[in-house]
Protein backbone atom coordinates (compact mmCIF):
# COMPACT_ATOMS: atom_id res chain seq x y z
CA UNK A 1 0.00 0.00 0.00
CA UNK A 2 1.58 3.28 -1.14
CA UNK A 3 1.80 6.13 1.36
CA UNK A 4 0.31 9.51 0.52
CA UNK A 5 3.82 10.84 -0.17
CA UNK A 6 4.52 7.97 -2.58
CA UNK A 7 1.14 8.35 -4.28
CA UNK A 8 1.71 12.02 -5.00
CA UNK A 9 5.49 11.85 -5.44
CA UNK A 10 5.35 13.37 -8.93
CA UNK A 11 2.62 15.89 -8.23
CA UNK A 12 4.56 19.14 -8.09
CA UNK A 13 1.22 20.99 -8.39
CA UNK A 14 3.15 23.60 -10.38
CA UNK A 15 0.67 25.95 -12.05
CA UNK A 16 2.23 28.25 -14.62
CA UNK A 17 -0.10 31.22 -15.05
CA UNK A 18 -1.69 31.76 -18.46
CA UNK A 19 -1.83 35.51 -17.76
CA UNK A 20 -5.62 35.68 -17.80
CA UNK A 21 -8.17 35.16 -14.99
CA UNK A 22 -9.60 31.68 -14.49
CA UNK A 23 -13.09 30.98 -15.83
CA UNK A 24 -13.31 27.72 -13.84
CA UNK A 25 -11.65 26.90 -10.53
CA UNK A 26 -11.50 23.68 -8.52
CA UNK A 27 -10.62 24.46 -4.91
CA UNK A 28 -9.41 21.50 -2.83
CA UNK A 29 -12.08 19.20 -4.28
CA UNK A 30 -12.52 15.67 -2.92
CA UNK A 31 -14.91 13.16 -4.50
CA UNK A 32 -15.36 9.45 -3.81
CA UNK A 33 -17.66 6.79 -5.17
CA UNK A 34 -17.89 4.20 -2.41
CA UNK A 35 -14.32 3.26 -1.55
CA UNK A 36 -13.02 4.62 -4.87
CA UNK A 37 -11.40 7.99 -4.22
CA UNK A 38 -11.55 9.81 -7.55
CA UNK A 39 -10.65 13.42 -6.76
CA UNK A 40 -8.22 13.83 -3.87
CA UNK A 41 -7.73 17.50 -3.14
CA UNK A 42 -7.92 18.81 -6.69
CA UNK A 43 -6.78 22.42 -7.15
CA UNK A 44 -7.06 23.54 -10.76
CA UNK A 45 -7.81 26.74 -12.65
CA UNK A 46 -8.85 26.85 -16.31
CA UNK A 47 -8.20 30.23 -17.97
CA UNK A 48 -10.84 32.42 -19.58
CA UNK A 49 -11.04 32.53 -23.36
CA UNK A 50 -8.57 29.71 -24.07
CA UNK A 51 -8.79 26.09 -25.21
CA UNK A 52 -7.76 24.19 -22.09
CA UNK A 53 -7.11 20.48 -21.99
CA UNK A 54 -7.39 18.24 -18.98
CA UNK A 55 -5.07 15.39 -19.78
CA UNK A 56 -4.56 12.23 -17.82
CA UNK A 57 -4.62 8.44 -17.84
CA UNK A 58 -7.96 6.60 -18.03
CA UNK A 59 -9.97 6.43 -14.81
CA UNK A 60 -8.26 9.38 -13.21
CA UNK A 61 -11.34 11.58 -12.80
CA UNK A 62 -11.40 13.70 -15.96
CA UNK A 63 -15.07 13.14 -16.82
CA UNK A 64 -15.92 13.58 -13.13
CA UNK A 65 -14.40 17.08 -13.41
CA UNK A 66 -16.76 18.01 -16.26
CA UNK A 67 -19.75 16.73 -14.31
CA UNK A 68 -18.70 18.89 -11.34
CA UNK A 69 -18.41 21.97 -13.56
CA UNK A 70 -22.01 21.69 -14.78
CA UNK A 71 -23.42 20.55 -11.43
CA UNK A 72 -24.25 16.98 -12.43
CA UNK A 73 -22.05 15.87 -9.51
CA UNK A 74 -21.23 17.64 -6.26
CA UNK A 75 -17.90 17.47 -4.41
CA UNK A 76 -17.75 15.65 -1.08
CA UNK A 77 -15.72 18.65 0.08
CA UNK A 78 -14.12 21.68 -1.56
CA UNK A 79 -15.64 24.05 -4.08
CA UNK A 80 -16.07 24.42 -7.84
CA UNK A 81 -16.31 28.03 -8.97
CA UNK A 82 -17.41 29.12 -12.44
CA UNK A 83 -17.20 32.84 -13.28
CA UNK A 84 -17.07 33.56 -9.56
CA UNK A 85 -20.18 31.48 -8.79
CA UNK A 86 -19.93 28.47 -6.46
CA UNK A 87 -21.65 25.60 -8.32
CA UNK A 88 -22.46 23.36 -5.32
CA UNK A 89 -24.24 26.20 -3.53
CA UNK A 90 -26.73 26.80 -6.37
CA UNK A 91 -30.34 25.73 -5.89
CA UNK A 92 -31.95 23.42 -8.48
CA UNK A 93 -33.72 26.34 -10.18
CA UNK A 94 -30.53 28.44 -10.23
CA UNK A 95 -28.59 25.48 -11.56
CA UNK A 96 -30.90 25.02 -14.57
CA UNK A 97 -30.48 28.74 -15.38
CA UNK A 98 -26.71 28.60 -14.72
CA UNK A 99 -26.27 25.72 -17.16
CA UNK A 100 -27.41 27.91 -20.06
CA UNK A 101 -23.89 29.36 -20.26
CA UNK A 102 -22.53 25.91 -21.11
CA UNK A 103 -22.39 23.78 -24.20
CA UNK A 104 -21.37 20.20 -23.54
CA UNK A 105 -20.24 17.64 -26.08
CA UNK A 106 -20.68 14.23 -24.46
CA UNK A 107 -18.56 11.20 -25.39
CA UNK A 108 -20.99 9.76 -27.92
CA UNK A 109 -22.77 12.99 -28.73
CA UNK A 110 -25.70 12.11 -26.39
CA UNK A 111 -28.20 12.98 -29.12
CA UNK A 112 -31.86 12.37 -28.29
CA UNK A 113 -32.71 9.11 -30.04
CA UNK A 114 -36.33 10.04 -30.73
CA UNK A 115 -35.47 13.31 -32.55
CA UNK A 116 -33.80 13.80 -35.91
CA UNK A 117 -30.59 15.75 -36.20
CA UNK A 118 -32.31 19.04 -36.99
CA UNK A 119 -34.63 18.76 -33.99
CA UNK A 120 -31.73 17.73 -31.76
CA UNK A 121 -29.83 20.90 -32.64
CA UNK A 122 -32.99 23.02 -32.46
CA UNK A 123 -33.92 21.59 -29.03
CA UNK A 124 -32.01 24.14 -26.87
CA UNK A 125 -33.35 27.04 -28.94
CA UNK A 126 -36.94 25.86 -28.57
CA UNK A 127 -36.40 25.18 -24.90
CA UNK A 128 -34.72 28.43 -23.92
CA UNK A 129 -35.53 31.15 -26.44
CA UNK A 130 -38.61 32.80 -27.85
CA UNK A 131 -37.26 32.60 -31.42
CA UNK A 132 -39.64 31.73 -34.23
CA UNK A 133 -39.23 28.61 -36.37
CA UNK A 134 -37.73 30.60 -39.26
CA UNK A 135 -34.99 32.08 -37.12
CA UNK A 136 -34.37 28.69 -35.48
CA UNK A 137 -34.07 27.08 -38.93
CA UNK A 138 -31.51 29.70 -39.97
CA UNK A 139 -29.37 29.13 -36.84
CA UNK A 140 -29.66 25.34 -36.90
CA UNK A 141 -28.78 25.06 -40.59
CA UNK A 142 -25.79 27.40 -40.12
CA UNK A 143 -24.49 25.31 -37.18
CA UNK A 144 -25.05 22.05 -39.08
CA UNK A 145 -23.17 23.45 -42.10
CA UNK A 146 -20.29 24.55 -39.82
CA UNK A 147 -19.80 20.98 -38.64
CA UNK A 148 -20.21 19.55 -42.13
CA UNK A 149 -23.70 18.09 -41.61
CA UNK A 150 -25.68 20.56 -43.71
CA UNK A 151 -27.47 17.78 -45.63
CA UNK A 152 -28.03 15.40 -42.71
CA UNK A 153 -30.68 17.33 -40.77
CA UNK A 154 -33.45 14.81 -41.38
CA UNK A 155 -31.37 11.78 -40.37
CA UNK A 156 -32.00 10.02 -37.07
CA UNK A 157 -29.07 9.57 -34.64
CA UNK A 158 -28.96 5.79 -35.21
CA UNK A 159 -28.32 6.41 -38.94
CA UNK A 160 -25.10 8.33 -38.20
CA UNK A 161 -21.51 7.21 -37.74
CA UNK A 162 -19.71 7.90 -34.44
CA UNK A 163 -17.90 10.90 -35.93
CA UNK A 164 -21.11 12.37 -37.34
CA UNK A 165 -22.83 11.95 -33.97
CA UNK A 166 -19.98 13.84 -32.29
CA UNK A 167 -20.14 16.65 -34.84
CA UNK A 168 -23.91 16.84 -34.41
CA UNK A 169 -23.41 16.98 -30.63
CA UNK A 170 -20.92 19.78 -31.21
CA UNK A 171 -23.47 21.71 -33.28
CA UNK A 172 -26.05 21.29 -30.51
CA UNK A 173 -23.50 22.38 -27.88
CA UNK A 174 -22.83 25.60 -29.81
CA UNK A 175 -26.36 26.55 -30.76
CA UNK A 176 -27.00 28.86 -27.78
CA UNK A 177 -23.62 30.61 -28.25
CA UNK A 178 -22.37 29.38 -24.86
CA UNK A 179 -19.57 31.15 -22.98
CA UNK A 180 -18.05 27.81 -21.96
CA UNK A 181 -17.93 24.66 -24.10
CA UNK A 182 -16.93 21.35 -22.50
CA UNK A 183 -15.79 18.36 -24.56
CA UNK A 184 -15.75 14.92 -22.95
CA UNK A 185 -13.21 12.85 -24.90
CA UNK A 186 -14.17 14.13 -28.35
CA UNK A 187 -11.61 11.76 -29.89
CA UNK A 188 -12.83 8.52 -28.29
CA UNK A 189 -13.88 5.91 -30.84
CA UNK A 190 -12.69 7.96 -33.81
CA UNK A 191 -9.98 7.03 -36.30
CA UNK A 192 -6.88 9.31 -36.37
CA UNK A 193 -7.98 11.22 -39.48
CA UNK A 194 -11.42 12.02 -38.12
CA UNK A 195 -9.87 12.92 -34.77
CA UNK A 196 -7.60 15.38 -36.57
CA UNK A 197 -10.55 16.82 -38.50
CA UNK A 198 -12.60 17.23 -35.33
CA UNK A 199 -9.65 18.94 -33.62
CA UNK A 200 -9.35 21.35 -36.56
CA UNK A 201 -13.06 22.03 -36.30
CA UNK A 202 -12.78 22.81 -32.57
CA UNK A 203 -9.92 25.25 -33.27
CA UNK A 204 -11.73 26.94 -36.15
CA UNK A 205 -14.96 27.41 -34.25
CA UNK A 206 -13.11 28.69 -31.18
CA UNK A 207 -11.23 31.20 -33.36
CA UNK A 208 -14.54 32.33 -34.83
CA UNK A 209 -16.73 32.44 -31.70
CA UNK A 210 -14.26 32.78 -28.82
CA UNK A 211 -15.23 31.59 -25.33
CA UNK A 212 -13.65 29.16 -22.91
CA UNK A 213 -13.25 25.62 -24.24
CA UNK A 214 -12.34 22.72 -21.97
CA UNK A 215 -11.38 19.46 -23.65
CA UNK A 216 -10.91 16.22 -21.78
CA UNK A 217 -8.78 13.57 -23.39
CA UNK A 218 -5.92 11.15 -22.97
CA UNK A 219 -4.88 11.52 -26.60
CA UNK A 220 -1.58 13.37 -26.88
CA UNK A 221 -1.94 14.09 -30.59
CA UNK A 222 -5.21 15.91 -29.93
CA UNK A 223 -3.48 17.88 -27.19
CA UNK A 224 -0.68 18.92 -29.52
CA UNK A 225 -3.17 20.02 -32.16
CA UNK A 226 -5.67 21.91 -30.04
CA UNK A 227 -4.47 22.80 -26.56
CA UNK A 228 -3.48 26.31 -25.54
CA UNK A 229 -3.43 25.42 -21.86
CA UNK A 230 -2.90 21.97 -20.34
CA UNK A 231 -3.63 20.54 -16.88
CA UNK A 232 -2.25 17.05 -16.30
CA UNK A 233 -4.43 15.09 -13.87
CA UNK A 234 -3.43 11.86 -12.14
CA UNK A 235 -4.79 10.16 -9.06
CA UNK A 236 -7.30 12.94 -8.56
CA UNK A 237 -4.80 15.78 -8.35
CA UNK A 238 -2.98 18.07 -10.78
CA UNK A 239 0.54 16.94 -11.54
CA UNK A 240 1.37 20.14 -13.41
CA UNK A 241 -0.57 22.79 -15.32
CA UNK A 242 0.42 25.62 -17.63
CA UNK A 243 0.56 26.88 -21.19
CA UNK A 244 0.75 24.01 -23.66
CA UNK A 245 4.32 24.64 -24.79
CA UNK A 246 5.55 24.91 -21.18
CA UNK A 247 4.02 21.53 -20.40
CA UNK A 248 5.49 19.89 -23.49
CA UNK A 249 8.90 21.20 -22.33
CA UNK A 250 8.34 20.10 -18.71
CA UNK A 251 11.06 18.10 -16.92
CA UNK A 252 8.56 16.45 -14.54
CA UNK A 253 9.08 12.68 -15.10
CA UNK A 254 5.35 11.89 -15.11
CA UNK A 255 4.42 14.78 -17.42
CA UNK A 256 7.34 13.91 -19.68
CA UNK A 257 6.36 10.25 -19.85
CA UNK A 258 2.68 10.95 -20.44
CA UNK A 259 3.15 13.64 -23.07
CA UNK A 260 5.67 11.58 -24.98
CA UNK A 261 3.72 8.32 -24.65
CA UNK A 262 6.75 6.40 -23.29
CA UNK A 263 6.25 3.10 -21.47
CA UNK A 264 9.13 3.73 -19.04
CA UNK A 265 8.35 6.13 -16.21
CA UNK A 266 6.24 6.62 -13.11
CA UNK A 267 2.99 5.55 -14.84
CA UNK A 268 2.57 1.79 -14.95
CA UNK A 269 -0.33 -0.57 -15.62
CA UNK A 270 -1.77 -0.25 -12.09
Amino acid sequence: MATVEQQFEWHSGKNRSAGVPDAIEFIDVYKSFGSNKVLQGLNMGLPEGMISMILGPSGTGKSVCIKHIVGLLYPDSGDVVVHGQSVPSLSDAELFEFRRQFGVLFQDGALFGSLNLYDNVAFPLRQHTEKGEEEIAEIVNRRLREVGLGDAGQKMPNELSGGMRKRAGFARALVLDPQIVLFDEPDSGLDPVRTALLCELIKEIHAENGGTYVVITHDIMSARRVAEYIAVLWRGRIVEAGLAQDLFDSENPFVKQFLSGESAGPLGME
Binding site: K67, V70, L72, D92, F96, E97, R99, R100, F102, V104, F106, Q107, D108, A110, L111, F112, G113, F123, P124, Q127, H128
Partner: protein, 268 residues
Protein backbone atom coordinates in the same frame (compact mmCIF):
# COMPACT_ATOMS: atom_id res chain seq x y z
CA UNK B 1 -16.86 -15.86 10.79
CA UNK B 2 -19.76 -13.99 12.45
CA UNK B 3 -18.13 -10.70 11.54
CA UNK B 4 -17.70 -11.72 7.89
CA UNK B 5 -21.34 -12.85 7.64
CA UNK B 6 -22.45 -9.60 9.27
CA UNK B 7 -20.35 -7.57 6.84
CA UNK B 8 -21.79 -9.50 3.88
CA UNK B 9 -25.31 -8.84 5.07
CA UNK B 10 -24.68 -5.22 6.09
CA UNK B 11 -23.64 -3.79 2.72
CA UNK B 12 -26.58 -5.09 0.65
CA UNK B 13 -29.00 -4.11 3.44
CA UNK B 14 -27.53 -0.61 3.59
CA UNK B 15 -27.66 -0.28 -0.21
CA UNK B 16 -31.29 -1.41 -0.23
CA UNK B 17 -32.23 1.10 2.47
CA UNK B 18 -30.40 3.86 0.59
CA UNK B 19 -32.27 2.95 -2.59
CA UNK B 20 -35.60 2.98 -0.79
CA UNK B 21 -34.71 6.40 0.64
CA UNK B 22 -33.76 7.67 -2.83
CA UNK B 23 -37.07 6.37 -4.22
CA UNK B 24 -38.97 8.20 -1.48
CA UNK B 25 -37.15 11.39 -2.41
CA UNK B 26 -37.93 10.79 -6.09
CA UNK B 27 -41.60 10.29 -5.19
CA UNK B 28 -41.65 13.60 -3.34
CA UNK B 29 -39.89 15.43 -6.17
CA UNK B 30 -42.25 13.86 -8.71
CA UNK B 31 -45.37 14.96 -6.84
CA UNK B 32 -44.03 18.50 -6.32
CA UNK B 33 -42.93 18.73 -9.98
CA UNK B 34 -46.31 17.47 -11.17
CA UNK B 35 -48.18 20.13 -9.19
CA UNK B 36 -45.85 23.12 -9.60
CA UNK B 37 -46.13 25.07 -12.89
CA UNK B 38 -45.10 25.00 -15.69
CA UNK B 39 -46.70 21.81 -17.02
CA UNK B 40 -44.65 20.80 -20.06
CA UNK B 41 -45.43 17.10 -19.79
CA UNK B 42 -48.88 16.95 -21.41
CA UNK B 43 -47.71 15.55 -24.75
CA UNK B 44 -45.40 13.01 -23.13
CA UNK B 45 -48.18 11.98 -20.73
CA UNK B 46 -50.56 11.26 -23.62
CA UNK B 47 -47.91 9.35 -25.55
CA UNK B 48 -46.94 7.27 -22.48
CA UNK B 49 -50.58 6.58 -21.66
CA UNK B 50 -51.28 5.35 -25.20
CA UNK B 51 -48.04 3.35 -25.11
CA UNK B 52 -49.17 1.58 -21.91
CA UNK B 53 -52.64 0.94 -23.34
CA UNK B 54 -51.21 -0.50 -26.54
CA UNK B 55 -48.75 -2.76 -24.74
CA UNK B 56 -50.96 -4.03 -21.94
CA UNK B 57 -54.57 -4.46 -23.07
CA UNK B 58 -54.16 -7.91 -24.60
CA UNK B 59 -51.82 -9.55 -22.02
CA UNK B 60 -54.11 -8.22 -19.29
CA UNK B 61 -57.25 -9.58 -20.96
CA UNK B 62 -55.76 -13.07 -21.34
CA UNK B 63 -54.21 -13.09 -17.86
CA UNK B 64 -57.31 -12.02 -15.92
CA UNK B 65 -59.67 -14.19 -17.92
CA UNK B 66 -57.46 -17.27 -17.55
CA UNK B 67 -56.57 -16.87 -13.89
CA UNK B 68 -60.13 -16.01 -12.79
CA UNK B 69 -61.56 -18.88 -14.80
CA UNK B 70 -59.01 -21.33 -13.38
CA UNK B 71 -58.41 -20.33 -9.76
CA UNK B 72 -61.56 -18.85 -8.18
CA UNK B 73 -63.65 -20.16 -11.08
CA UNK B 74 -63.02 -23.89 -11.60
CA UNK B 75 -61.24 -24.59 -8.31
CA UNK B 76 -63.77 -22.83 -6.09
CA UNK B 77 -66.63 -24.27 -8.14
CA UNK B 78 -65.35 -27.81 -7.46
CA UNK B 79 -65.25 -27.03 -3.76
CA UNK B 80 -68.68 -25.39 -3.67
CA UNK B 81 -70.22 -28.27 -5.61
CA UNK B 82 -69.47 -30.48 -2.56
CA UNK B 83 -71.95 -28.41 -0.58
CA UNK B 84 -74.38 -27.86 -3.43
CA UNK B 85 -73.65 -24.15 -3.10
CA UNK B 86 -72.36 -23.24 -6.52
CA UNK B 87 -74.53 -20.08 -6.49
CA UNK B 88 -72.08 -18.72 -3.90
CA UNK B 89 -69.45 -18.37 -6.59
CA UNK B 90 -70.70 -14.83 -7.31
CA UNK B 91 -69.92 -13.80 -3.72
CA UNK B 92 -66.48 -15.36 -3.96
CA UNK B 93 -65.83 -13.29 -7.07
CA UNK B 94 -66.28 -10.06 -5.09
CA UNK B 95 -63.51 -11.22 -2.76
CA UNK B 96 -61.38 -12.77 -5.46
CA UNK B 97 -61.75 -10.79 -8.67
CA UNK B 98 -62.74 -7.32 -7.43
CA UNK B 99 -60.69 -7.03 -4.25
CA UNK B 100 -57.59 -9.06 -5.02
CA UNK B 101 -57.02 -10.77 -8.37
CA UNK B 102 -58.05 -7.86 -10.58
CA UNK B 103 -55.66 -5.36 -8.97
CA UNK B 104 -52.88 -7.94 -8.49
CA UNK B 105 -52.94 -9.16 -12.10
CA UNK B 106 -53.14 -5.57 -13.35
CA UNK B 107 -50.06 -4.67 -11.30
CA UNK B 108 -48.13 -7.75 -12.41
CA UNK B 109 -48.93 -7.19 -16.09
CA UNK B 110 -48.23 -3.46 -15.99
CA UNK B 111 -44.97 -3.90 -14.08
CA UNK B 112 -43.87 -6.74 -16.35
CA UNK B 113 -44.90 -5.18 -19.64
CA UNK B 114 -44.93 -1.37 -19.26
CA UNK B 115 -42.65 -0.97 -16.22
CA UNK B 116 -39.83 -2.93 -17.77
CA UNK B 117 -40.19 -0.95 -21.01
CA UNK B 118 -39.88 2.28 -19.01
CA UNK B 119 -36.77 1.04 -17.18
CA UNK B 120 -35.17 -0.13 -20.41
CA UNK B 121 -35.96 3.15 -22.17
CA UNK B 122 -34.67 5.39 -19.37
CA UNK B 123 -31.73 3.06 -18.72
CA UNK B 124 -30.63 3.23 -22.36
CA UNK B 125 -30.96 7.03 -22.27
CA UNK B 126 -28.88 7.12 -19.09
CA UNK B 127 -26.15 4.97 -20.64
CA UNK B 128 -26.10 7.14 -23.79
CA UNK B 129 -25.79 10.21 -21.48
CA UNK B 130 -29.06 11.61 -22.86
CA UNK B 131 -30.30 12.29 -19.33
CA UNK B 132 -27.13 14.25 -18.51
CA UNK B 133 -27.51 16.12 -21.80
CA UNK B 134 -31.10 17.02 -20.91
CA UNK B 135 -30.02 18.41 -17.55
CA UNK B 136 -27.20 20.38 -19.10
CA UNK B 137 -29.68 21.81 -21.60
CA UNK B 138 -31.71 23.05 -18.64
CA UNK B 139 -34.43 20.40 -18.80
CA UNK B 140 -35.50 18.77 -15.55
CA UNK B 141 -35.71 14.99 -16.21
CA UNK B 142 -38.05 14.49 -13.26
CA UNK B 143 -40.59 16.98 -14.60
CA UNK B 144 -40.24 15.97 -18.24
CA UNK B 145 -39.70 12.21 -18.02
CA UNK B 146 -40.72 10.87 -14.61
CA UNK B 147 -43.90 12.92 -14.04
CA UNK B 148 -45.63 11.91 -17.31
CA UNK B 149 -44.78 8.23 -16.76
CA UNK B 150 -45.91 8.43 -13.13
CA UNK B 151 -49.26 9.98 -14.09
CA UNK B 152 -49.74 7.73 -17.14
CA UNK B 153 -49.15 4.55 -15.13
CA UNK B 154 -51.43 5.71 -12.30
CA UNK B 155 -54.30 6.52 -14.65
CA UNK B 156 -53.71 3.39 -16.73
CA UNK B 157 -53.61 1.01 -13.74
CA UNK B 158 -56.75 2.60 -12.27
CA UNK B 159 -58.66 2.19 -15.52
CA UNK B 160 -57.17 -1.19 -16.37
CA UNK B 161 -58.27 -2.43 -12.96
CA UNK B 162 -61.93 -2.03 -13.97
CA UNK B 163 -61.16 -3.75 -17.26
CA UNK B 164 -59.40 -6.61 -15.40
CA UNK B 165 -62.33 -6.98 -13.00
CA UNK B 166 -64.76 -7.22 -15.93
CA UNK B 167 -62.79 -9.94 -17.66
CA UNK B 168 -62.20 -11.66 -14.32
CA UNK B 169 -65.97 -11.85 -13.81
CA UNK B 170 -66.30 -13.31 -17.32
CA UNK B 171 -63.95 -16.06 -16.07
CA UNK B 172 -66.37 -16.75 -13.20
CA UNK B 173 -69.35 -16.81 -15.55
CA UNK B 174 -67.48 -19.27 -17.78
CA UNK B 175 -66.86 -21.51 -14.75
CA UNK B 176 -70.59 -21.46 -13.94
CA UNK B 177 -71.49 -22.35 -17.52
CA UNK B 178 -68.96 -25.20 -17.59
CA UNK B 179 -70.70 -26.56 -14.49
CA UNK B 180 -74.09 -26.30 -16.26
CA UNK B 181 -75.41 -23.72 -13.81
CA UNK B 182 -77.79 -20.84 -14.53
CA UNK B 183 -76.20 -17.39 -14.16
CA UNK B 184 -78.97 -15.83 -12.07
CA UNK B 185 -77.79 -17.15 -8.66
CA UNK B 186 -74.22 -16.11 -9.51
CA UNK B 187 -75.35 -12.51 -10.06
CA UNK B 188 -77.55 -12.58 -6.97
CA UNK B 189 -74.75 -13.54 -4.59
CA UNK B 190 -72.37 -11.28 -6.47
CA UNK B 191 -74.48 -8.16 -5.93
CA UNK B 192 -75.44 -9.17 -2.39
CA UNK B 193 -71.78 -9.10 -1.41
CA UNK B 194 -70.84 -6.14 -3.57
CA UNK B 195 -70.31 -2.81 -1.87
CA UNK B 196 -69.13 0.52 -3.31
CA UNK B 197 -66.20 0.24 -0.88
CA UNK B 198 -65.06 -2.86 -2.80
CA UNK B 199 -64.95 -0.94 -6.06
CA UNK B 200 -63.36 2.30 -4.89
CA UNK B 201 -60.96 0.38 -2.64
CA UNK B 202 -59.90 -1.74 -5.58
CA UNK B 203 -59.44 1.25 -7.90
CA UNK B 204 -57.56 3.35 -5.31
CA UNK B 205 -55.30 0.41 -4.47
CA UNK B 206 -54.55 -0.24 -8.10
CA UNK B 207 -53.87 3.44 -8.81
CA UNK B 208 -51.29 3.45 -6.02
CA UNK B 209 -49.81 0.27 -7.52
CA UNK B 210 -49.29 2.29 -10.70
CA UNK B 211 -47.48 5.02 -8.75
CA UNK B 212 -45.25 2.45 -7.03
CA UNK B 213 -44.38 0.72 -10.31
CA UNK B 214 -43.65 4.03 -12.05
CA UNK B 215 -41.33 5.31 -9.32
CA UNK B 216 -39.40 2.03 -9.01
CA UNK B 217 -39.05 1.56 -12.77
CA UNK B 218 -38.09 5.19 -13.45
CA UNK B 219 -35.60 5.17 -10.57
CA UNK B 220 -33.97 1.95 -11.72
CA UNK B 221 -33.75 3.24 -15.30
CA UNK B 222 -32.32 6.60 -14.31
CA UNK B 223 -29.66 5.04 -12.10
CA UNK B 224 -28.62 2.27 -14.51
CA UNK B 225 -24.88 1.96 -15.01
CA UNK B 226 -22.45 -0.40 -16.68
CA UNK B 227 -23.50 -0.39 -20.33
CA UNK B 228 -26.03 -2.74 -21.93
CA UNK B 229 -25.52 -5.33 -19.19
CA UNK B 230 -26.32 -2.66 -16.61
CA UNK B 231 -29.61 -1.86 -18.34
CA UNK B 232 -30.55 -5.57 -18.27
CA UNK B 233 -29.70 -5.70 -14.57
CA UNK B 234 -31.76 -2.58 -13.90
CA UNK B 235 -34.79 -4.05 -15.68
CA UNK B 236 -34.51 -7.26 -13.69
CA UNK B 237 -34.18 -5.42 -10.38
CA UNK B 238 -37.03 -3.06 -11.26
CA UNK B 239 -39.52 -5.84 -11.92
CA UNK B 240 -38.55 -7.81 -8.81
CA UNK B 241 -38.70 -4.73 -6.57
CA UNK B 242 -41.98 -3.60 -8.12
CA UNK B 243 -43.62 -6.98 -7.37
CA UNK B 244 -42.31 -6.96 -3.78
CA UNK B 245 -43.42 -3.39 -3.18
CA UNK B 246 -46.87 -3.93 -4.70
CA UNK B 247 -47.55 -7.05 -2.65
CA UNK B 248 -46.25 -5.43 0.54
CA UNK B 249 -48.46 -2.40 -0.09
CA UNK B 250 -51.41 -4.72 -0.78
CA UNK B 251 -51.03 -6.24 2.68
CA UNK B 252 -50.94 -2.83 4.38
CA UNK B 253 -53.83 -1.44 2.30
CA UNK B 254 -56.04 -4.51 2.82
CA UNK B 255 -55.49 -4.44 6.57
CA UNK B 256 -56.33 -0.75 6.67
CA UNK B 257 -59.42 -1.13 4.47
CA UNK B 258 -60.79 -4.02 6.53
CA UNK B 259 -60.08 -2.21 9.79
CA UNK B 260 -61.76 1.01 8.66
CA UNK B 261 -64.67 -0.68 6.84
CA UNK B 262 -65.59 -3.74 8.95
CA UNK B 263 -68.90 -4.16 7.09
CA UNK B 264 -67.07 -5.66 4.11
CA UNK B 265 -65.81 -8.46 6.36
CA UNK B 266 -69.33 -9.86 6.54
CA UNK B 267 -69.95 -12.51 3.88
CA UNK B 268 -73.60 -12.59 2.89
Amino acid sequence: MVRSVAERAYLPARNLLEEIGDMMILTGRTIVSALRPPYPYGGEFVSQFLFVLKLCWFPLLISTLAICYAAPGLQAANFLTLFGALDRLGGIFILAAVREIGPAVTAVVLAGVAGTAITADLGARKIREELDALQVLGVDPVKNLVVPRFLALMVATGLFNVYAILFGIFGGLAAELVNHQPLGPFWTTFFENADTTDLWGSVVKCTVYGAIIAIICCYKGMTASGGAEGVGRAVNQAVVLAFLAVFAFNYVFTQMLLATHPEILVIK
